[in-house]
């Protein structure tokens, strides 16, 4: 066993060449995941609301977007943006940026389904009562429905963040210097400790993702007691089961 290889390169796994060069390793993975979920949240809200619209010319584009993205492997999407970006912008685009776009577009579709499920789980009476008290549809959505729905959606968003964190490892394929790339680089350089290196990397990912999963479970429990109808989280889960959110 050659655990010294892991030990000597541990700093490289965590930060890449950071003080002397660009940020890499685990730090870049986390940056990509946090950036991805932040943008995907807004994409999800917009497309989730569009998905629920009564007008077909708003609803159909959203359905097409969601179904196409959910049917495509993330890997293909990353390749799409990697090869598409230079043609659109007429200049080379950094790999990290094009993967961030791919992550946003990919996770956005799943977030849109979460938002839809969350809004549909709020009893209809809420909307009717808000409308009859004189608010228009947009106001009722912003002040009455969304605040309640978003709170119920928090655990699902955390779960989505976990799977996005795992998915950032795919950025390795087009050469982003994140944790997986750092691991393969060290592996190619040393060649005598692949099992140790990849086990360590797996444990690093595990600590982050397991911590988040436990947080999401805790939040789920806490929020379901706090909300007036304890059924709501279960309803979200039932709807999510139907639509197949991972």
């Amino acid at each position: 066993m050659h655990w010294d290889v892991v030990w000597n390169n541990f700093g490289y796994f965590l930060l890449g060449r950071f003080p002397d060069g660009p940020v890499g390793g685990l730090a870049l993975s986390i940056l990509l995941a946090v950036g991805g979920i932040f943008f995907a949240f807004w994409v999800g809200i917009i497309f989730g609301l569009m998905r629920l619209s009564k007008r077909w010319y708003i609803r159909i584009p959203s359905i097409i977007y969601i179904e196409i993205i959910r049917g495509t492997p993330l890997l293909l999407l990353i390749f799409w943006f990697y090869f598409l970006a230079p043609i659109i912008f007429h200049r080379p685009v950094p790999e990290a940026r094009s993967t961030l776009v791919a992550f946003t577009v990919f996770t956005g579709a799943y977030c849109a389904e979460i938002v839809r499920a969350g809004i549909q789980s709020i009893p209809k009476g809420q909307m009717e009562a808000a409308r009859s008290s004189g608010l228009n549809y947009t106001q009722a959505m912003i002040y009455i429905i969304l605040p309640q729905a978003l709170r119920n959606m928090i655990p699902s968003f955390v779960n989505q963040f976990v799977s996005l964190t795992k998915d950032t490892s795919l950025a390795y394929i087009i050469g982003v210097q994140e944790l997986t790339r750092a691991a393969t680089q060290v592996n190619n350089r040393t060649l005598n400790a692949p099992a140790e290196i990849f086990f360590t990397i797996a444990v690093i990912y595990f600590i982050i993702c397991f911590g988040l999963t436990q947080t999401s479970r805790y939040l789920e429990k806490k929020l379901s007691y706090k909300t007036a109808g304890r059924m709501r989280q279960q309803e979200i889960e039932l709807i999510e089961e139907d639509i197949g959110v991972p």
Binding site: G71, L75, F79, F83, T180, P194, A202, E241, P246
Partner: protein, 233 residues
């Protein structure tokens, strides 16, 4: 956009053969992994349900560890690490046969079986406890009660989620390209580097994956509408 599309190049001749070959490998690796992961997932859930402390502990750590690590890392771990983990003769046998394919199947199976175990457990939990107690009271053993009474009912409820797991598995099988399994994504990447016709190849591959997943989600929807609403309690 100054890109001239030339669809004939991927729809005829050699490159079309590549895509078809890739699609077949994708279906093969997904099919084998689906069967194996269903088997292992069920086994793990059953072990967890026995309420033997040590089994419970092992299965929970299996599920949590493999659910919370990226598939790509697992692929690399088995691919690069098998030389150091398994004995020499097993490795020699694997190298002589289709080593990449085997590693792909093993990683996909382990990764997906952890998810499937959780889905099946959720299904079993949704079956009222009395079902188990009643069948035990009629004289069935735990295994018999599980296999003949609880699992058949649980499977009916979890089928839609299981199918969406299989869908995820099919999409995840694209990661096997990183270790050199020549499946659909690998082939499109290959066409891109041979001919610089990346967009045509990617479009064809994307359409194939989407049509696969749309067919399956259509089936889930029909199943949900026709069947599932009746048996939910």
């Amino acid at each position: 956009m100054n890109y001239e599309f030339n669809w004939m190049i991927v729809l005829t001749g050699e490159y079309r053969e590549w895509i078809i070959h890739g699609l077949i490998i994708t279906l093969k690796i997904s099919g084998i992994s689906i069967l194996l992961s269903l088997l292992i997932g069920t086994l793990i859930t059953t072990l967890r349900m026995t309420k033997v402390k040590i089994l419970e502990w092992i299965t929970i750590s299996y599920i949590e560890f493999f659910r919370n690590t990226p598939l790509l890392i697992q692929l690399f771990f088995w691919y690069f690490g098998s030389y150091y983990i398994f004995p020499e003769n097993i490795n020699q046998w694997l190298y002589a046969h289709d080593y990449e394919f085997a590693v792909g199947v093993v990683s996909l199976t382990i990764y997906t079986s952890a998810f499937i175990a959780e889905e099946i457990r959720a299904g079993i939990m949704s079956i009222p406890k009395e079902q188990m107690e009643a069948s035990r009271a009629t004289g069935l053993s735990f295994i018999q009660a599980m296999a003949n009474v609880v699992l058949p009912q649980a499977f009916r409820i979890v089928i839609p989620t299981l199918i969406s797991q299989f869908l995820n598995l099919t999409k995840n099988s694209s990661l096997a390209m990183t270790i050199g399994v020549m499946e659909l994504t690998y082939m499109t990447r290959q066409i891109e580097s041979y001919s610089f016709r990346g967009f045509e190849a990617f479009t064809v591959a994307t359409l194939l994956y989407i049509s696969l997943s749309l067919t399956i989600s259509l089936i889930i929807n029909i199943y949900n509408k026709k069947f599932l609403r009746m048996i939910r309690y």
